[in-house]
């Protein structure tokens, strides 16, 4: 007997009964199929690999669900893959948790899962286990995703802020603020046509390439929420060193700058989802830059600053040659009045 089709998510789809089976069989499994998931065990079991296991988890809520350059599904895969990759881990598998709001159109769920599938394929990291719950109308906003990821850090690879020393050189793997501003424009000014696209991308390939060329990389971090300002000022505080950035060398696309000005935001404080902030020893800087630029996700990489002895803070040399402090933003990004 052919199972009945459905066009929107109902509470019963999360009940663990036949309707749940229908949702999984019709919508989820066909899109995420891989040998580990297809076994349908209670856990995804990965093979034993030498090294130190790394575990990470992130939840994803974004409005709107779809925006230029990505959607919730792509974000959920890239965010967790990148958290593993910047820790030096090679991602092995993802767990996907979905909280669906009653009434969510099936088409929306399918589109998001298509993106999960595509990003997972691109990263080479399969979804190996998952969970689905449905909550009543009004108890969630369409769909929330959580992804956890497990990865293995190869023997001998140590990336840690404690290793950062004065003299170290700072790099960024491309243009800043594209993700945050693409989402904010899509949310606030959907009628506006802009060339701006989210940079959401899995960075494990780029980072493996970098670490192969420069095994002595000191530290990596992905400047997501709070942007470059958040990462650089946090690291200054943790390490006790002065981080000096050169504004002229920080890549920002003209359309991003324009959108930031319009919304009264600073591109340095806005989220990225496909960029990595790199700390290397001065003698490795050029080699690291070349390695990054040789990958499609790192073509616009730049050396943007250095670590100095001094007060534990981040300063920026401005375009006109002035100098000021760069701080972590306070919280919610609030557009100003005029």
């Amino acid at each position: 007997m052919k199972a009945e089709s459905f066009d929107q998510v109902a509470l019963a789809h999360g009940g663990g009964g036949q309707l749940t089976d229908r949702l999984l069989e019709q919508v989820v499994w066909p899109r995420l199929s891989n040998p580990l998931l297809d076994e349908l065990l209670d856990s995804g079991i990965i093979q034993s690999i030498p090294g130190r296991p790394a575990l990470t988890l992130d939840s994803f809520v974004v409005k709107p669900l779809f925006f230029p350059g990505g959607d919730l599904g792509r974000l959920a895969v890239c965010g967790t893959v990148n958290d593993l990759a910047v820790s030096g881990a090679r991602p092995q598998g993802l767990a996907l948790g979905m909280i669906l709001e009653e009434g969510l159109p099936r088409g929306v769920l399918e589109k998001i899962l298509d993106s999960v599938s595509e990003a997972s394929r691109e990263a080479g990291v399969p979804v190996i286990t998952g969970d689905t719950k449905v909550v009543g109308r009004g108890q969630a906003d369409g769909i929330f995703l959580t992804t956890a990821g497990i990865g293995i850090i190869p023997e001998g690879r140590v990336l840690h802020p404690k290793k950062i020393a004065p003299g170290d050189v700072l790099l960024i793997s491309g243009t800043l603020a594209d993700h945050g501003l693409a989402v904010m424009l899509a949310r606030q000014m959907p009628e506006l046509k802009s060339a701006l696209r989210s940079d959401a991308a899995p960075l494990n390939g780029l980072i493996e390439r970098l670490l192969a060329a420069v095994p002595g990389v000191v530290f990596l971090r992905d400047p997501t929420r709070a942007g470059l300002a958040g990462v650089a000022s946090d690291l200054a505080k943790t390490t006790g060193h002065l981080f000096v950035l050169d504004e002229k060398r920080i890549p920002v696309l003209p359309e991003t700058r324009h959108a930031a000005e319009m919304l009264g935001l600073d591109p340095l404080e806005v989220a990225n989802e496909g960029k990595v902030f790199v700390v290397v020893r001065p003698e490795d800087a050029q080699k690291a830059l070349e390695a990054l630029r040789g990958h499609p996700y790192g073509e616009k990489s730049e050396i943007i600053g250095r670590v100095e002895k001094g007060p534990a803070r981040c300063e920026i040399l401005t375009a006109i040659g002035g100098r000021r402090i760069l701080q972590k933003p306070y919280g919610e990004q609030l557009p100003r009045i005029c």
Partner: protein
């Protein structure tokens, strides 16, 4: 970076020469909060010659909004089923009974909007719910408010009201100058307000108080060129009104925007934080649009509410005190826990100091190389 006055280096050179040639320390006021923030962001303070001091003026809309206005907005957010639409800067300003942000956390429906027309749209999509638009700002945002109210009238939106707290910049300059004006050697005037009101609007101030005024945009090079011209005028003891932003600012402003203001608003009185009540400094709805006035609709009292104890925002706004001289700055009052509006607004002097200079640094360190 090259402009009408040559390269950045050339302009900085002329600025240095003019300040030196003045033979006395010069103090200029940037009237507008957008300039305050742009100046701090550019690191310009670290490039200025020692004899030149910039102080921030009363042109930050959030900062000069009185405590009474903040309290009224929080009260409006508590009306059952109401939707309050506001520009983002306002939501964290603490009133006597908490901020709009806190009202939102307690269940109020607060919408951060980017355009006044969004509030009209929300009102037409929610006909059964009262919608209040917090209309704050100077002449820069007032035309957008006028357009929104005009649109609400055209659509007969009975559930849309605006809490008007629009102020005009010239009465504030008069108030500053008729007080202790000897401290100031010139005004750096805001490009965006001037786009609306036109450069000639400042002529009476320049002539009455004999003070140089230069209108500037917000690009680094515009601001430095304007400071250079101010220093050259002050150094030569000449009084003039100049416009280094002529591509955007015309002598008579934007006639369409001014006509819209004329249509919807009349001149009224406002209470300013720091300056107190200033007659003729507000835009209020004229008779034909009074039905859209949230104050009337919800019978909000016009009360003077005392400012928080120890907060010196009022003096900071007038350029009489620097943030570091305030006992609360950087300790009790920080951007995460602001006491006064100058620490809340992204254009506020206190936030600019805290954000770009850190606490307890009275002057920025000079740039190396």
């Amino acid at each position: 970076m090259n402009g009408r006055y040559g390269s950045l280096e050339a302009i900085l050179g002329r600025l240095n020469m003019a300040v030196e040639g003045a033979g006395r320390p010069l103090t200029f006021m940037e009237v507008c909060g957008t300039h305050t923030m742009a100046i701090f962001r550019s690191g310009l303070h670290s490039l200025l010659p020692a004899g030149l001091r910039l102080i921030s003026g009363p042109g930050c809309p959030v900062c000069v909004t009185s405590q009474g206005d903040i309290d009224a907005l929080v009260a409006l957010a508590d009306i059952p089923h109401a939707i309050v639409c506001t520009y983002g800067d306002m939501i964290r300003v603490p009133g006597s009974n908490g901020s709009l942000e806190r009202a939102r956390a307690n269940g109020a429906d607060l919408r951060v909007i980017y355009s006044s027309m969004d509030a009209v749209k929300i009102a037409s999509e929610n006909p059964s719910r009262p919608v209040v638009f917090a209309a704050i700002g100077f002449e820069t945002t007032a035309p957008a408010t006028a357009a929104a109210i005009d649109a609400a009238k055209a659509r007969s939106l009975a559930n849309f009201h605006a809490y008007i707290s629009h102020k005009t910049i010239l009465p504030a300059m008069h108030a500053l100058l008729s007080g202790d004006a000897s401290r100031l050697d010139g005004f750096l005037l805001p490009g965006h307000v001037s786009v609306i009101i036109g450069s000639e609007a400042y002529r009476p101030v320049v002539e009455r108080y004999r003070i140089p005024c230069v209108i500037s945009g917000f690009e680094d090079i515009h601001m430095i060129a304007a400071l250079m011209r101010l220093a050259e005028l002050a150094s030569a003891r000449k009084v003039d009104l100049e416009n280094v932003y002529p591509q955007a600012v015309k002598p008579l402003g934007n006639p369409a925007a001014l006509a819209l203001l004329e249509k919807v608003f009349r001149v009224g009185d406002a209470s300013w934080r720091g300056l107190g009540p200033l007659p003729g400094s507000a835009l209020v709805l004229n008779q034909a649009y009074e039905a859209f006035d949230a104050r009337r609709k919800y019978a909000l009292p016009d009360t003077e509410v005392p400012e928080p104890a120890g907060c010196r925002c009022g003096e900071v706004i007038l350029g009489k005190t620097t943030p570091a001289e305030c006992g609360l700055f950087g300790t009790v009052c920080t951007p995460t826990n602001p006491v006064g509006p100058c620490m809340v607004s992204s254009e506020g002097t206190c936030q600019a100091w805290f954000k770009y200079q850190g606490t307890r640094i009275p002057e920025p360190s000079k740039a190396s190389a």
